[in-house]
């Protein structure tokens, strides 16, 4: 186990990050706020900051701070850190590392997931903005719109709160999508909006139903807080067919 000393406030308050070779190496308990990264590779210096170190050496570990964290760390001097992710510099790129913080009762994984197979992680929940049905199932978010014959089908579901996308480069959503009508014009979108009512700033869209669809949108130009949601559209089909859509959201997460 290696210990990395980080000075996130530029000196004074110190954050010790321990590097373990495997998750199984984490001790049963530690001090509240203890941070650990998992890597079997050699580690160099430790950094905890909002922006990546400018001139890292191979093996350096960077704890990315900012936005919202599942496990804030309270240091001496009133300094509170919000770790979002941990990276090790390979010599050419920052590579994501598993990272854990001991909250006083358990090790909590630091993650950039908003929602993961039934668990709301960085967000408290979702809201139905348009459409008929939103149901939180055991391992997924169920969206359905029961448009009638000749009607338009649409449903919009957004996470309740805005998310700080500063320094985030990609937003991803994994979902299953089925439609009762295979006519052209149906689509499902991952939306990044300045509000929850349709002022969409960026989006990624799929037009073919299927399972395990991954929608990715480049948000590297976005600073500040935005809303994240899904929108499904079915054009009015003939008077004898239903344009209904069913979507199951499995995972929504951010990438640095």
């Amino acid at each position: 186990m290696a210990i990395l000393n980080c000075f996130p406030a530029g000196g004074g308050a110190k954050l010790n990050v321990k590097a373990y070779s495997a998750v199984g190496g984490l001790p049963a308990s530690d001090k509240a706020g203890a941070a650990a990264v998992i890597t079997a590779l050699p580690v160099g210096s430790g950094f905890a900051s909002a922006a990546a170190p400018a001139s890292p050496a191979s093996g350096d570990v960077w704890i990315w701070l900012g936005g919202t964290s599942l496990a804030p760390i309270h240091l001496s001097g009133g300094v509170t850190l919000h770790p979002r992710a941990a990276y090790r510099y390979s010599g050419s790129a920052w590579v994501l590392l598993p990272c854990y913080v001991y909250t006083g009762s358990a090790w909590v994984e630091v993650t950039l997931s908003l929602y993961d197979n039934g668990a709301f992680i960085l967000e408290p929940g979702v809201e139905l903005i348009l459409g008929d049905t939103l149901t939180l199932q055991a391992v997924r978010i169920y969206m359905f719109d029961s448009a009638g014959r000749g009607e338009t089908s649409f449903i919009r579901v957004y996470f309740a709160n805005s998310i700080d996308l500063t320094n985030v480069t990609t937003v991803k959503m994994i979902l299953d999508w089925a439609t009762a009508n295979t006519s052209s014009g149906h689509y499902v979108k991952l939306e990044i909006g300045s509000n929850k009512t349709g002022t969409v700033v960026a989006s990624a869209q799929a037009g073919t139903p299927g399972t395990g669809i991954t929608l990715s949108v480049n948000v590297s130009a976005l600073d500040g807080s935005y809303y994240i949601g899904a929108y499904v559209y079915g054009p009015p089909a003939g008077s004898d067919s239903y344009p209904s859509n069913t979507v199951y959201i499995q995972k929504v997460y951010l990438e640095k």
């Binding site: 790129a93 480069t169 689509y187 960026a202 990624a204 869209q205 037009g207 990715s216 480049n218």
Partner: protein, 106 residues
């Protein structure tokens, strides 16, 4: 509405002189009513195509995402909308004046 995309999938409102930009139809109307500066601040990856960012991350279409700070793009759009409204106001004043003149001639 038809727009044009360069090899980095940046949007343009007009074809270039060499005719090398790829046309893309905005069937959903994302850019409807938007000014040139707004449109040209966006990147569009068409359906069925893939764009690779400098860091190697790949994005499949359809993706529409700003390549510049969207707050600046929306501010520019608001300015353009203000100019359009001012032009329309001036046109209405002129037409009203012409109408009054016609009435007097009658």
């Amino acid at each position: 509405m038809l727009y044009y995309l360069d090899d980095q999938r940046m949007a343009h409102v007009r074809q270039n002189e060499a005719g090398t930009l790829a046309p893309w139809g905005d069937t959903a109307g994302f850019f409807a009513g938007k000014c040139q500066a707004f449109v040209e601040g966006y990147r569009v990856v068409p359906d069925g195509q893939t764009w690779t960012r400098e860091d190697g991350a790949a994005f499949s279409g359809l993706m529409i995402a700003p390549a510049a700070d969207p707050n600046l793009l929306f501010a520019g759009q608001a300015e353009a909308d203000g100019e359009t409204i001012a032009e329309l106001d001036a046109a209405v004043v002129e037409l009203t004046y012409q109408y009054i003149l016609l009435e007097y001639e009658v």
